[in-house]
């Protein structure tokens, strides 16, 4: 694993403290991802924010991704940044569409307010304990969660009379010729 040296103490401490909760640690392109079960998320986040070896005071980004091939297809990524140690860490929580509940981290980082609303808006992830979980960018009476992979782009009826948006080309090329 190609974790930066500065992150090693963080990971060591994290394993010591939450060894049972850390599902997976992966490194890619110099970035480290820690996968957690949702039950321990708030506890781990609070620790990561406050412990002197980590001090991840900034939740810089919270984003969702849909992997329809997995049973737990909805994935929420938390990108943390530590001013004190100048390192970044990604936390990952996966949930299924049938039970899309993730505890809210608004109590740990108030900035999660809008960012969780955004993920709820586009992926339908329910952040339990969020003070006001309503849509943020889509109209509030919108049906469906537009960033899920089974939600079409175009090909949907629009409100304007006689208008129809044709679906775009959806072919994906994955095999054969590669760039590396």
């Amino acid at each position: 694993m190609q974790a930066p040296d500065v992150l090693q103490p963080v990971l060591t401490n994290l394993r010591e403290r939450f060894g049972d909760a850390v599902r997976d640690v992966a490194g890619h392109r110099g970035e480290v991802t820690v996968e957690l079960p949702r039950e321990r998320l708030v506890e781990v986040c609070t620790w990561l924010r406050d412990h002197p070896s980590t001090r991840f005071r900034l939740l810089s980004d919270l984003s969702g991704t849909d992997y329809p091939d997995r049973p737990d297809r909805l994935c929420v990524d938390y990108h943390l940044y530590s001013f004190d140690h100048n390192v970044r860490l990604r936390l990952k929580v996966r949930v299924s569409v049938e039970d899309p509940h993730v505890p809210s981290v608004t109590g740990v980082w108030p900035t999660a307010d809008w960012q969780e609303r955004e993920v709820y808006d586009f992926f339908g992830v329910r952040f339990d304990g969020h003070p006001n979980l309503i849509r943020i960018l889509m109209p509030e009476d919108w049906q469906g969660y537009p960033q899920r992979k089974d939600y079409p782009l175009g090909g949907v009826e629009v409100e304007y009379k006689g208008a129809h948006i044709a679906p775009p080309d959806t072919r994906r090329y994955t095999g054969g010729w590669t760039s590396t």
Binding site: R90, G129, P131
Partner: protein, 464 residues
Amino acid sequence: MQVDAERLAAESAVQPGRALDLPPAPTAEQVTLPERRAREVIATGGGDWAEVTARRDAAGDDELMVLNMGPQHPSTHGVLRLVLELRAEEVVSAQPVVGYLHTGIEKNLEYRPWTAGQTFVTRMDYLAPFFNETAYCLSVERLLGIQAPPRAQAVRVLLMELNRVASHLVWLATTGLELGALSMMLYGFREREVILDLFEDVTGLRMNHNYIRIGGLSQDLPDGFEGRVRDALATLRARTEEYETLLTRNPVWLQRTRGVGALDQDRLVGLGVTGPVLRASGLAHDVRKTEPYCGYEQYEFDVPTATGSDVYARYQVRMAELRQSFRIADQVLDTLPGGPVMVEDPKVGWPARLALGPDGLGNSPAHVAHIMGESMEALIHHFKLVTEGIKVPAGEVYTAVESPRGELGYHVVSDGGNLPWRVHVRDPSFVNLQAVAPMVRGALVADVIAALSSVDPVLGGVDR
């Protein structure tokens, strides 16, 4: 005009790292109905005006007035709506409502080849197009494991710093307009035009350039460009001094900005605020210094900070940043390396160079002759790149750059195909806008304008 000093002191006493802006999050069952009603009034998510006021009436407070500011209010910087609760002139609460400019750019990106991505992302934060393009291209380059050639990196830095100046000038111009310094508006837009002319010279467009590409740039700088930049920098330097004489000690400007919209550093960090607003609270955090990209580590510059964390401090920081940007631009011009502006790898580097021909702008005749007459391999590469685009190895990265508004981050996921699997943009305007509500609580209506403006939100970036 002054914020309540006692309240500010009480809030500053919050221990660092504690939950800063919200009470311990209650579960849905714990929230009683009156509480939920009260919450709904302050946290409206848009909706019919009658519904908003009906909720206010249900709360049973006759003194409270709910005022809708926006989305067509000229000083809300685009289509931002603020629902203000007022008791006389005092703001009890403010709730920004966003989404009026949502165009589904992130969804659209998943349906277009990687190489078409810059065309979309450049339209998000329309005052900082080069930052969007660079951040996107850096993310994809990291996934590909490549780096743009040194000349391309230096040109990116040059364009980004000029872009930062243009963006800060628009901020200065609009804030001046909103706070009654009308001449600042005229001067700010006048000088921004100098920079947009340079951009047009390089990319052909004033905004939405699509000039920075995965692996480098779409083409090299035009002849004589460096000289024109030096001339422009000399003009801008002199004019920046003039703005200072116009505003820095101007009593009206001081009264409208000092002590307004103040928020202490811990709360700013908790709310995820970055960029000049955070630096105006004294924290010298700048992604260009902490995680240098595009060779920023080669250039000497300072990270300006201020104390006070009010609108005036944010003004001071932005003015100082203008000078730092000039300084970086000068160094780029002095050390501009030669060489190609696109990676050599024929499977990544976009092959065609543009040239002006008899039938307008198109592929250069030399390139067409090369692929049609000389090299079958070049033709195949051209064909594959244009029809399918590049394939990016599976993985995910988060890349941040320092945009004029703060940390602009791209979370990019690839499944190994020719289309992005997911691109999420952490737009600083979106995150910073959350800080407006606590900034204006207890302030006067007129200060809402000043506080909002000091955050410098660009709604194209907020709504994406």
